[in-house]
């Protein structure tokens, strides 16, 4: 599962795996009941795959789930595609390390973009009946921009899938002591089987299943954690006492905006402009509105109203996720103790030692083990496995669609029968899994590759946002403008990354401060590449021939007649729920200001 969350998380999580391997003993020991819980999950997903095989016969059914998903299913799948186990563990670790600042990735880093996708962009994606984001680019800008986007997406999707697979195998080794090969082979075989059989519908079903499992398996931890800490106020009092006695490093762990007035005032090394414009716009909008992995889920909705409602429904659940991710990380600061009763100190991956055997990223498993009896522990572990598997299923189903529709069909075999493309899609799924496994073993033997893979992925997403926005909201944008905007925007991102890599002092120009840290650099780099791609698209378009108004029907604002929707009671209207989501989003930020 890639995207804005995992890119940062992976770097902290499995990326620095050396520390994890130092832990000689598994964190958790599963009872027979736990094993049974895990086995039931595997049996269920395989059963679903075989059951859905009969409903994946045409390309529309295999790649788009027949466009029959309700708003709830599409919405849960949409948010679940980004809710992988590495995200859960990584962000819980970030919360332990940085405090509630980590919740920015769930709130401003997701909610505005999700609502914008649903209310503003979705009509164009949906009305033009595209099957993918590269497919939209083809309709708007022609084959060139589409192929560039499709190839980069397909390539990066399978690479990221492999990186995630390896990272998850490391997690299973640390938490349960499982062999790396066992985890990789068993989980990837299961994913290959159920996606190749049932296509996108199967992937979506499993994502919804995973969503329920994650809540069922993880919600108990913050509930019991709050009971032990004496509620939120009790937690804050204990944290203050720990800081006063020097047991916990000083810092503002419970406020989101107060320490963002300067890069050096917070442990993340971030300024509020980076959070608002870099994370809240460039990265977040790039991921949630143009990454086909998540957009594909919404395109499978049964009608336009459902397609618009799905991201709105997803936004409410996304806002709630910090309760099962950030809160356990924070509670870990006061409730985790060593066997001798002293306060446990988690450390960075490269500081793990005999005195401090656990890293930040292990805070969630530690909390699970602390509270969960047999059965419940199995449920928590199943949630982690399910998160990983559905993330991988999301990757390979998106890869399969883009490979078949945007690469194979236009470039290799234009006029085959529909069944042929379904067969190609099934084999592309298998191929995607095989390449992912290869990548996983590649990363296992050369861990440094992981950082480059993550950086590579980030190069493509933000420029794509600039080009899609220009294409969707400016009729004058031309084919050449889109192509060069995408290309120069991507090269800008690559160039800025290489500049800081070769000359670290360049950070003060890229991220506007020499006090900035890696996360701030990512945000500003994304922002610059969006700005460049928009400017290049604008300038080149001014000097080139635009498309006629008729050609833009269905893909551009102002040239598209949107279908009239049937009137519904206010409580079923997407705008009503969008306003409620905005109010909830603002209220959360103000409460934790």
């Amino acid at each position: 599962m890639h995207g804005l969350v995992s890119l940062s998380t992976l770097a902290q999580g499995a990326g620095a795996k050396t520390g994890m391997f130092l832990a000689t003993e598994a964190l958790a020991h599963l009872a027979p009941l736990d094993i049974l819980v895990i086995a039931v999950y595997f049996a269920m997903v395989i059963w679903i795959g075989f059951y859905l095989k009969g409903q994946a016969n045409t390309s529309e059914e295999f790649f788009m789930a027949g466009r029959e998903m309700t708003a709830w299913i599409a919405g849960l799948s949409f948010v679940s595609a980004n809710l992988g186990s590495l995200e859960l563990m990584g962000w819980a670790g970030s919360a332990y390390q940085y405090g509630i600042l980590a919740a920015h990735w769930y709130w401003i880093g997701a909610i505005p973009a999700m609502l914008f996708l649903g209310m503003v962009m979705m009509p164009f994606y949906y009305v033009c009946k595209t099957h993918s984001v590269p497919g939209y680019l083809k309709l708007r800008y022609g084959q060139g921009a589409s192929v560039v986007s499709a190839i980069s997406f397909a390539f990066m999707t399978v690479l990221m899938s492999g990186v995630n697979m390896f990272a998850m195998a490391v997690v299973m080794k640390v938490v349960l002591g499982w062999d790396l090969n066992f985890s990789i082979i068993v989980s990837s075989m299961a994913v290959a089987l159920y996606v190749a059989l049932g296509g996108l519908r199967s992937a979506i079903f499993n994502e919804v299943l995973q969503f329920v499992l994650i809540w069922g398996g993880a919600l108990l931890v913050p509930i019991l954690g709050l009971v032990e800490a004496g509620g939120w106020n009790g937690f804050k009092a204990k944290l203050a006492a720990n800081m006063a006695s020097g047991l916990t490093p000083h810092g503002d762990y419970t406020h989101m905006w107060r320490s963002l007035d300067h890069f050096s005032n917070n442990p993340m090394g971030i300024h509020w402009t980076g959070i608002v414009f870099g994370l809240g716009f460039a990265i977040s909008f790039g991921y949630w509105t143009t990454d086909f992995l998540v957009v594909q889920r919404v395109l499978a909705a049964q009608n336009l109203r459902s397609a618009r409602m799905a991201p709105v429904i997803g936004s409410f659940f996304k806002m709630a996720v910090p309760f099962i991710v950030i809160l356990p990380g924070l509670l870990g600061l006061v409730v985790l103790h060593n066997a001798d009763g002293s306060l446990m100190h988690l450390v960075g991956e490269n500081q793990v030692s005999a005195a401090h055997p656990y890293s930040y990223n292990e805070v969630l498993p530690l909390m699970l083990v602390r509270y969960c009896a047999p059965g419940l522990l199995g449920l928590g572990v199943t949630a982690l496995i399910a998160g990983f598997m559905s993330g991988m299923a999301g990757n390979v189903s998106a890869f399969s669609a883009v490979w078949t529709y945007d690469i194979y069909q236009p470039l290799i075999n234009k006029n085959a029968r529909d069944e042929h493309y379904v067969t190609v899609g099934r084999w592309a799924t298998i191929l995607g899994v095989v390449v992912s496994i290869g990548t996983a073993y590649l990363v296992m033997n050369a861990a440094g590759i992981m950082d480059y893979v993550q950086a590579l992925f980030s190069f493509f997403i933000s420029p794509l946002l600039g080009v899609v926005l220009m294409g969707m909201f400016w009729k004058r944008a031309t084919k050449a403008g889109g192509f060069w905007g995408l290309l120069i925007g991507t090269l800008t991102s690559v160039g800025l990354w290489a500049w800081v890599k070769l000359v670290p002092s360049a950070l003060r120009y890229v991220a506007l401060s020499s006090d900035a840290k890696a996360m701030a650099e990512d945000m500003y780099r994304a922002l610059w590449s969006v700005i460049v791609s928009v400017l290049v698209t604008f300038v080149v378009s001014i000097f080139t021939e635009p498309k006629s108004e008729a050609e833009l029907n269905g893909v551009v604002y102002g040239a598209t007649k949107l279908p009239t929707e049937e009137p519904v009671p206010f409580y079923k209207n997407e705008w009503f729920w969008c306003v409620i989501a905005i109010i909830a989003f603002l209220a959360l930020n103000i409460y934790f200001w």
Partner: protein, 72 residues
């Protein structure tokens, strides 16, 4: 959803029910036998109420979205 298909909510109901029964059963056994598991706050008997909650929710979905029923 696809005509004459089993709803995803039915699968979810089934999984929740199986898990709920397993966890509730284990919790009940612990409660009756007095063998508390070695976890913090074991005296709250989380498997009993959490397992019970999952079973209730699972049964609700299982019945409401059973194949052939209009609720799907």
């Amino acid at each position: 959803m696809h005509s004459s298909s089993i709803s995803i909510w039915f699968f979810i109901g089934l999984l929740l029910t199986i898990y709920g029964v397993l966890i509730f059963g284990y919790g009940l056994y612990d409660l009756v036998s007095g063998n508390l598991p070695h976890v913090v706050l074991a005296k709250l008997h989380a498997p009993v109420w959490w397992g019970g909650l999952m079973t209730a929710l699972g049964l609700f979905y299982l019945i409401k979205f059973r194949p052939g029923h209009e609720g799907k």
